[in-house]
Symmetry: C3
Amino acid sequence: MTLIGVLDLASVVIFALTGALAASRAQLDVIGFIFLGCLTAVGGGTVRDVLLNRDVFWMVAPQFLGAATAAAVLVFFTAHLLESRLKALDWLDAMALAVAVPAGVGAALSMGQSWPIVLVMGVVTGCLGGLMRDVVCNEVPLVLKQGELYVTCCFAGSATALLLRQLPAGTLPTGSALIGCGVMVFALRAGSMAFGWRLPVYKSRPPRAKR
Amino acid sequence: MTLIGVLDLASVVIFALTGALAASRAQLDVIGFIFLGCLTAVGGGTVRDVLLNRDVFWMVAPQFLGAATAAAVLVFFTAHLLESRLKALDWLDAMALAVAVPAGVGAALSMGQSWPIVLVMGVVTGCLGGLMRDVVCNEVPLVLKQGELYVTCCFAGSATALLLRQLPAGTLPTGSALIGCGVMVFALRAGSMAFGWRLPVYKSRPPRAKR
Amino acid sequence: MTLIGVLDLASVVIFALTGALAASRAQLDVIGFIFLGCLTAVGGGTVRDVLLNRDVFWMVAPQFLGAATAAAVLVFFTAHLLESRLKALDWLDAMALAVAVPAGVGAALSMGQSWPIVLVMGVVTGCLGGLMRDVVCNEVPLVLKQGELYVTCCFAGSATALLLRQLPAGTLPTGSALIGCGVMVFALRAGSMAFGWRLPVYKSRPPRAKR
């Protein structure tokens, strides 16, 4: 199995756990857990593959869906053991980001895409699965949560991979660049959640009036 | 016209009726009825065709859009005759599911896809049009409505078609398998709405706190 | 640069401004501005290109993303100068519609698509970027705002282009038809916002009950 395959599998399983946790917060039945788990698990990668005009990864290898289904069922039977499902969801989402972003970057790099496209594919693969989960559940999307780094982590991780690849040829294989990318994503996201790291937000006015 | 064509047409028309009923609940103008009707009518099939890398069905035969438009305009002028638009919406949605799921299953079978993909295409074609309608209208998606079978019906219907196809060759043509699929979807959905059939839901905790 | 290229660029920049204004209303950081700006800027055109099975325009020419990013950053530093960000958003959105609809119509015409597909591509390219922005921001989508023309403008503009093309050959090049399309979109939308032009809405009942 290639490194990109491993990253895809890990991100599918971890994102499926977050989708199933969202289903537990909405008190769905086991099929609802599987539906939300699979949607979250393959959402970002599906958009990436459609945009890159590749075969959609889980159509080629439906085992990915099996893995997501197993993860969702596991959560259905064990979520009550967690002390805080919301906290677990946020930390698992951070881990999923840290494997999904390098999976997106790696897929784009392996097709010889230009650097802006590589950047975008990292962000798309990382963010869109979770965004679909939050939109379907009618929650404020994590990507829009004020005062936390989220899209920024994906962006910085993708940029890290691109920079590491610029080092003199031979000193660093692509695999290491992808690992550096994942470490950067997780470090920033974890720092933001645990220590409140953030970028300055736009705040010249009181909050928006409702439309 | 092939059986899949008939199923596609029926699901387009019935889903368009549900989209237009949603538009009547939001008190839109006639173009809004057409927009929501068409979105709901072709949403699921479009995602199916993009994933399967087929030509999108309504691009090949724009008559589908004409049928959806006619259905939406009909609702604009007659919805006030209904006693309960919400109830009509739910029952029409059930009928649309019962034709859309076999349409999705049939399309995947005709391309020789493996069984997990066939299952997914049944669920995708059935659920996504209504999901788009509900997300755009900012309503809690039907797929997430607690304590009702919805995704489960699509899932069980697709599985029924796959099982019927496993019978000794020659005893049952694909067409019958698709009809069995539709009957299963409608029976489960109707039973859930009329008699409260349901799966046990996850309920170890009080409802989620708002994020 | 072709006329379609100019229209695409203009619609990307103006839609990016609207996405960034939505980000300012949600008080995001600068990366949030860029994310929402780019999503709004390329959302409609991306769906158009995927449906038409063309290469996605910003994958071929990533400069479009650069332009959207620059527009979003500009808004981050200057939005506080605006008297009413909501009003600016609505008027910019009207301008973006007026260039995005002809861009969609032109792309479909250049591929020799039939008239129903041309109509749909005008509406899709015009409406979907803004719809994604509003769904992600959890606002009532502009397309659903009661008593304002929105989808209607896209529809009428696309129809105008198709009618102008029916004039005796040679009297009017495609470019003029696209300009007529844009003028029609903006005139209707502006008239709706400034003078309250509207179509009769469906209103036989009190507003919907919550599901």
